[in-house]
């Protein structure tokens, strides 16, 4: 039994709004299973005395003061947009509802 099923990959693709064909699912699902398996090997290295870690640095409370700093102009911000209208990013029709 692989760690990730074909159905789970289809569901993930749906959440990511990627349209996968049956052939692509057949192709990708086993690949993802292999990747998960490889990552899992880390579990074997970690002994009981190694707590789960999310950050590599032993730091806390890294803050910035609440000060406004210049950002981008609208022209700069929109420079890479495929389509622009009314000084806004024009994006394809929404698939489904707002999150």
């Amino acid at each position: 039994m692989p760690d990730i099923t074909r159905e789970e990959v289809a569901h993930l693709a749906d959440l990511a709004r990627i349209d996968l064909s049956d052939a692509e699912l057949d192709h990708l699902a086993p690949q993802l299973a292999v990747i998960l398996d490889s990552v899992k090997s880390i579990n074997e290295v970690a002994a009981d005395d190694v707590p789960p870690t999310s950050h590599a640095l032993p730091l806390t409370n890294v803050f910035r003061a609440d000060v406004v700093r210049p950002g981008l102009t609208a022209e700069e911000a929109l420079a890479g947009a495929p389509e622009v209208e009314q000084q806004r990013f024009s994006v394809p029709r929404i698939l489904g509802e707002e999150a």
Partner: protein, 500 residues
């Protein structure tokens, strides 16, 4: 879309006889920090689209976020004011979803480690106290704003969307209650009172503008029904887009009626997001609610954990304003309001407005009079919250000052408010533009009184005979001639003088 025009509603009373409502309220508060949560972009409302953005809030590759310390401080002060515990150590998490309002494809939020948790507050409705337990208050960021362009104007019919990221990354605090039980028929009012009190508390803390109509305070209402006497909760719906105090109350009432009818007819409530429609006063079905696991939360690797020292927490606790209950008791004593007057003021959502009007120089009685009678009627007619009327406490105080100075009377004051509400400017500007000052020219007044006496000899005779109450008819005639712009008290004095 299941926009059902055929939705059957059970009457509120019948629903409450059969079912016991359970509510959960989620309030999102935009903080009023100068800069965004993770970048230095400004947060001003109403700027030109995409002029308050940078690589961080646009989610450009390689951009690194840094936490705004003031936002963390505000989050902790909110938590403390709600009697919460403050986490000794907590992290941000990525909430993954794919929607163009979040260009990073995730929202930086907190998941199972909120900065504040396990709190409570008490709200009063009609003299009865209800305890609301707070599950958590966590930090996150706001999303961009989408404008849906298309023929039908609905999201589903939109051909494409236009996105403005000015709002993306503005610090948000989400405050989540535990299930609120035992409110029965008071449920809609308890929900409204809770949100109203939260607004007061946030304003007192100075952490947010709490303008519901601008979206800096937004409420989602979770509601389920269970048969009276049953312990287990029913299936709940989450109503979004509830953006005024009166909508909070109305949406709770609506869902009670809708779910009541559904359950009575043997149907089941679908666990889903529903959208509140302010104009029609109904909720419609949105998407089915995603499981938390669909968001694939994981700790945000780009932000190190937050571990507020206990000294910091205690320092913030020491900076809190007095709690709402004490605050109200003190105000009531200061203002000399009866319990009923105070209750009406709070119930109308006018406490802050009255407080600010008094601070701007009006007497407590005058402040209460204007907000609870005149302004409440106008807000009701327009279907908006009092706070959303385009008139400020300073305007009300100024109008009262003009009355006190004898420049206008109450009748003219109402016309001044008409002008202010119509966007004609400040009270003084409206008085000048509309020529509303009362006539203080004694000669003109005296002549008008003489004419009124001459035109109404029989009334004048009655007054001469000592029937002073008849003076009303003459005062009316004078006021009519002066088009309302006279001091009625002075007119009365003149009539009595001339006829005695």
């Amino acid at each position: 879309m299941s926009t059902s025009t055929t939705t059957r509603l059970m009457s509120f009373d019948e629903a409450l006889e059969k079912f016991d409502p359970v509510m959960g309220l989620e309030v999102h508060v935009e903080l009023n920090t100068a800069s965004k949560m993770f970048c230095g972009c400004p947060t001003e409302f109403g700027a030109e689209p995409n002029t308050q953005v940078c690589p961080v809030c646009l989610g450009l590759p390689g951009a690194m976020p840094v936490v705004n310390e003031k936002a963390v401080e505000s989050a902790m002060r909110i938590g403390l004011a709600l009697n919460c515990q403050i986490a000794e150590w907590c992290r941000f998490a990525r909430k993954n979803y794919f929607y163009p309002d979040m260009p990073k494809n995730f929202q930086t939020s907190q998941y199972d480690e909120p900065i504040a948790f396990d709190g409570w507050t008490e709200v009063e409705v009609d003299g009865e106290t209800f305890r609301v337990d707070i599950e958590r208050a966590h930090m996150e960021e706001d999303t961009g704003k989408s404008l849906h362009v298309g023929t039908s104007g609905r999201i589903h019919g939109a051909d494409y969307s236009l996105v403005d990221y000015n709002r993306a990354g503005i610090p948000l605090i989400e405050i989540v209650t535990k299930p609120i039980v035992g409110t029965g028929a008071k449920a809609p009012l308890v929900a409204k009172a809770y949100v109203a009190q939260l607004r007061e508390l946030l304003l007192g803390l100075g952490v947010s503008d709490v303008r519901m109509e601008q979206g800096s305070l937004r409420c989602d209402v979770n509601l389920s029904l269970r048969p009276v006497g049953q312990e287990a909760f029913g299936t709940r719906t989450e109503t979004k887009n509830v953006n005024s105090l009166r909508s909070v109350e109305r949406s709770v009432r609506y869902e009670i009626g809708r779910q009541g009818a559904l359950l009575e007819d043997g149907g089941t409530v679908v666990q889903e997001t529903r959208h509140w429609h302010e104009d029609t006063g109904v909720t419609t079905s949105g998407r089915e609610k995603s499981d938390a696991e669909d968001y694939r939360y994981f700790p945000e690797p780009d932000l190190v954990p937050i571990a507020p020292s206990r000294e910091w927490v205690e320092e913030l606790r020491g900076s809190l304003p007095e709690p709402p209950r004490e605050h109200r008791a003190r105000l009531q004593a200061e203002w000399g309001f009866s319990d009923l007057e105070m209750r009406d003021t709070v119930g109308a959502g006018a406490l802050l407005l009255v407080e600010q009007t008094i601070a701007a120089g009006a007497s407590p009685a005058a402040a209460r009079k204007w907000w609870l009678s005149d302004m409440a009627r106008r807000a009701n007619e327009q279907g908006v919250d009092l706070a959303d009327l385009p008139v400020t406490p300073a305007d009300v105080a100024r109008v009262q000052a003009l009355v006190d100075e004898g420049k206008i009377n109450d009748k003219l004051a109402r016309q001044v408010f008409d002008g202010v509400l119509a966007g004609e400017g400040t009270p003084d500007e409206v008085v000048a533009a509309r020529g509303l000052a009362v006539v203080s020219d004694e000669g003109a007044l005296s002549a008008a009184v003489d004419r009124a006496i001459e035109a109404n000899p029989d009334v004048a005779d009655k007054i001469r005979d000592g029937k002073v109450a008849a003076a009303g008819a003459l005062i009316g005639a004078v006021m009519k001639e002066m088009r309302g712009q006279a001091d009625a008290g002075r007119v009365r004095e003149l009539i009595i003088e001339k006829l005695s």
